[in-house]
Symmetry: C2
Subunit: 235 residues, 2 copies
Amino acid sequence: MAELARPDVVEVGARRGSLVDEAYAALKQAIRDTDFPPGYQGSEQEIAVRLGMSRTPVHEAIIRLQEDGLVRVLSKRGVLICPLAPQDIREIYEVVIAVESMAAELLAGLPEATRATAADELEAATAAMDATLAQGDLPGWAEADELFHRLLVEHCGNGRLRRIAQTVTDQAHRARMLTLKLRATPTGSAQAHRTIIAALRAGDAAEAHRSARGHRVAARDEIVPLIEHIGLRQL
Amino acid sequence: MAELARPDVVEVGARRGSLVDEAYAALKQAIRDTDFPPGYQGSEQEIAVRLGMSRTPVHEAIIRLQEDGLVRVLSKRGVLICPLAPQDIREIYEVVIAVESMAAELLAGLPEATRATAADELEAATAAMDATLAQGDLPGWAEADELFHRLLVEHCGNGRLRRIAQTVTDQAHRARMLTLKLRATPTGSAQAHRTIIAALRAGDAAEAHRSARGHRVAARDEIVPLIEHIGLRQL
DNA sequence: CCCATTTATCTTCCATGGAAGTTTGCATGG
DNA sequence: CCATGCAAACTTCCATGGAAGATAAATGGG
């Protein structure tokens, strides 16, 4: 395994971040990209030398990652990159369903100007989905789709909801990258997104909730059985 | 401010917890009980001497508390006990609405035996609410009510949902204790709880969702305006 | 050869000291 | 009296060493 990426030593003019933040960001990224594969078990010392820092900031970053549910520290035995079982994917989707439907509902209840701005951005993200899909650029499509859902919660005006969504999205990222290749090309998503956007523009909170929820329920009912079917114990 | 409570040094036969866990639990409790008042700013060193341990475990416990949203560490200036603005209470209630309605829905979809067990416990908690209220024991009522809602998410089978609910409940605890004295005696809650329980016993997921949601929406629409009205800037 | 026991090695856990940064209070000059 | 510079006192931040515990390896007895 190669040396871990880490933001260049000095960014002139930028706010100086602590080593803990650096370690946290680098580790999170490494886990997302399966640079540390799920189930991998290593020591803080090892990670520290790879990041070129002492054990302390790594230790504290790992505490935060553990709180995020990405790793577990086994007392006196090292840190474990949490593998995800099909049951975990189900749990994550259930949280996403609850959180995003509420976010859509809240956004639909905000002032018209706010809704319009958000809807424009959401529309752009959806357009990007169509464009990338037309070119067969599946990773690009996934990125645009993820952007749509992130924008939805970021504009809902509830920071706690946003943070929860970000946390579970981080957890689900690996599974998402996997299923992207497995399932059929996702042509229906853009249409579902436009239904949500229309409800937001209309300020129809109930319909926004209903359509956002339906979109994620459909995703769960497609993805979870898929993962369970291929008999994957963990990922 | 007196010395902080801390589980007695040795509990024979019990699993030995780390000092970090001790500090985390003690601090969380102290914040809940406003032993550290909201807005209070202190140093890790000070907390360490009160807990009779070194700075390190306190520092790490505070990282976890920060992740929970209970404190913020201001670089080189100490740790701040997060005060809650009315807007925060609103955010918290919105999360609770989303999480608990989903939990009720999930629980209603579980096997009959599981639902029956949960319903029995929920019924007991609701009965305790009636009993305490009849005696004018408001703190006792609050405890029974909190138990009901905790049981609901604990039996829903989704650990992540449970954890999220626990986190926001911890945040809201101070506000909850305050409004308990301000608003009228909450006689309607027990009835709403029984509606939820009936839906759970019937295995009616949609109705469980609807009733659980309605119960928390009503709470939000009562509590949030109340807090905003009395002009409280923070608590 | 197999199993129990001991030993060695690796790990987190915790304490402590020094470095860097922030704030506070005081002295000094106007 | 007020503003300004400066120094002293705190604060977190990070490094490092030792202690306690867990695992794996080695060793000895059957």
